[in-house]
Amino acid sequence: MNNLILELKNLRFYLFIPYITLVLAGFVVLATLKGSDFKDLAACASVIQIFVSGFAVWWPIFILKEYLHSPGKELLFVYKARKDILMNKMLLLWGLYALHVVVLFFYFSTLFKPVIYLFIATIIQCLFLIALAYFLALLLQNTFIPLIFNFAYVFTLSMVVFSDLPISIFTRGVPDNPGILNTSVIVLILAGILFWAGYQMEMRLYKNSI
C-alpha cells in the first residue's frame, strides 16, 4: 500500500485530474437537473456514467506508464515477489476510485433517488475499463493507445448512448430499478476475462519482452 501511495505521489498534477472530473460531474448533473425541472434523470445517468467511468483508467494508466516506459523499469520486476502482481495494483486502484465515487453518489442521493443501481452499474463499468486498459497496455506495451482507446470508446458511445449498440457497456434509461444491472453482469464477466488475459500476459510474456 505504501508503494501505491508513492506511485500516486509520483503522478504530481496528474493525480488530481480524476478529482476535477468527479467534481465537474457533480456540477453537470446539478445543471442538467435544474435545466429540466428535476425530471431528466436518464440524461443525468448518462452524464454520470460518461464522466465517472471515463476517468477510472486515469490513475491505472499513469501508474502502468512507469512499469512500461520508465528508464530502469525492469528493476520493478526484479525486486518484486511473485505475489506482487500488477493486476492486484489495478484492483486496488479501482477500489480507491470506487471510494471517491461513493462520496459523489452520496451527493447524488440528495438530488434524486434511488442511486444504488446506478452506482453499482457505474463501478462495474469502471472495473471493466480498468481491466481493458490493463489488458491493452500489456498487449501493446504502451499506455498512450489504451488511454486514447478508452476515451474514444467512452465518448463515442456517449454520443450514441441512446442507441442499442451491443458493444456499449453503458446502461440506458431512468436508473430506478434493478433491471438496469442486466448489462452490468455481462460487463463484470468481461472485466474478469480481461483481467485474466492481462494476468497471463504479465506472467508469461511481459517479463521476456522488456
Binding site: 505504501n2 508503494n3 508513492l6 506511485e7 505521489k9 509520483n10 503522478l11 504530481r12 512507469e66 520508465s70 528508464p71 530502469g72 523499469k73 525492469e74 528493476l75 520493478l76 520486476f77 526484479v78 525486486y79 518484486k80 515477489a81 506482487d84 517479463k207 521476456n208 522488456i210
Partner: protein
C-alpha cells in the same frame, strides 16, 4: 555462492547465450564484452528477470527462483535508471525499501547509510528529475546496496558519465565491495582494471575467459609491440593495431601480433591488451 550452470537463452531463433558456466564468490567481477555480446541478457537471467531456455542459476545451491535469500540479497542497477522522476530521492529509496521488503523501522537508517555510501546524503530531499546524470547513477548504486545486498549486478554503470563521476563511481565500488559479490557489466576495460579483481570476457554469447585480471593481462605476454608506424608492415603473421599514438613527432603503433617478432615486446601488457588478444583470437 552463485553458480551459473549450462545457461542458454534465445530470442526467437537467435541464440544469445550458449551454455554459460560461471562461478561467483564474494569478489568484484568485471563482465567485459562488445556491444551485443550478451552481457545484459546474462545479467537479466542472473537477476531472475529472464527465464533461460536451458540451464539453471543457483544461489547457495538453491535455484534463484525458489530462494527467498536471493531475493533478499539481490541488488541491481539496470543499464538505464531514472524511474519515479517526480519523487524525491528519499521517497524513491523508500519505494525500493518496500520492494525489497526491508523492515519499515529500519528503512530510514538503511536509506541514510546507502546514500552516504555514494555521497548523496545532501540530496536526500531533491527530486530525481533535478539530479545530474552522474547523481542518478549513484542513486542507482545506492538503491542496489540498500538493505546490505550481498549480490549486486551493475549493468553498464559508467555509461555516459564524465571522468569525474567515473572516478567517483570507482571509489564507491571500492568502498562497498567488502563481503559482497559485485558483477559489473561494461565494455570499458579501464573500469574493470580499476575496480575488479576478477574478469569474465563474453563474446557472441560465449564465455571466452574467466579468471583474475592478472591472468587476462598474461594472455598478452610477448604479443604486444610498440613500434614505429613504418615498421608495422614488417610484422610477421596475424596482427592487430591496438592504438596509434604520436611520440615526439613520430607516429607509433601499439600492435598485437602472434608469434615472435623482430622487435622488443611490451613487458607490461595492459588488461585491454589481454582482452583484445582474446577477442581477436591472438592467443
Amino acid at each position: 555462492m552463485l553458480t551459473v550452470k549450462n545457461l542458454s537463452k534465445s530470442y526467437g531463433r537467435k541464440k544469445v547465450l550458449h551454455s554459460i558456466d560461471l562461478e561467483f564468490d564474494n569478489h568484484v567481477y568485471g563482465l567485459l564484452g562488445a556491444n551485443g555480446a550478451g552481457k545484459t541478457t546474462l545479467i537479466r537471467c542472473m537477476t531472475g528477470l529472464y527465464e533461460p531456455q536451458q540451464g539453471e542459476i543457483l544461489y547457495h545451491s538453491q535455484p534463484i527462483k525458489k530462494s527467498p535469500a536471493f531475493l533478499h540479497d539481490l541488488g541491481y542497477l539496470p543499464q538505464a535508471f531514472g524511474m519515479f522522476q517526480e519523487l524525491t530521492l528519499y521517497e524513491m529509496m523508500e519505494y525500493i525499501c518496500c520492494l525489497k521488503k526491508i523492515d519499515k523501522s529500519q528503512c530510514n537508517n538503511e536509506i541514510e547509510h546507502a546514500l552516504s555510501s555514494v555521497n548523496l546524503e545532501d540530496k536526500i530531499h531533491e527530486r530525481i528529475k533535478t539530479l545530474s546524470g552522474g547523481m542518478v547513477r549513484r542513486a542507482g548504486i545506492a538503491q542496489a546496496i540498500l538493505g546490505f545486498s550481498k549480490v549486486i549486478f551493475l549493468d553498464e554503470p559508467t555509461a555516459g558519465l564524465d571522468p569525474g563521476e567515473r572516478a567517483r563511481f570507482k571509489n564507491t565500488i571500492n568502498t562497498i565491495k567488502n563481503d559482497r559479490m559485485i558483477l559489473i557489466s561494461t565494455h570499458i576495460v579501464e573500469d574493470v582494471d580499476a575496480c575488479c579483481q576478477n574478469v569474465i570476457v563474453i563474446e557472441e554469447g560465449r564465455v571466452l575467459f574467466q579468471g583474475t585480471c592478472e591472468q587476462l593481462k598474461q594472455a598478452a605476454t610477448q604479443k604486444v609491440y610498440q613500434i614505429k608506424a613504418e615498421d608495422s608492415d614488417n610484422i610477421i603473421g596475424e596482427k592487430f593495431i591496438l592504438k596509434v599514438s604520436e611520440v615526439e613527432g613520430e607516429i607509433y603503433h601499439r600492435v598485437l601480433a602472434q608469434g615472435k617478432q623482430n622487435y622488443p615486446y611490451e613487458k607490461n601488457p595492459t588488461l585491454e591488451d589481454g582482452y583484445m588478444c582474446l577477442v581477436k583470437g591472438i592467443a
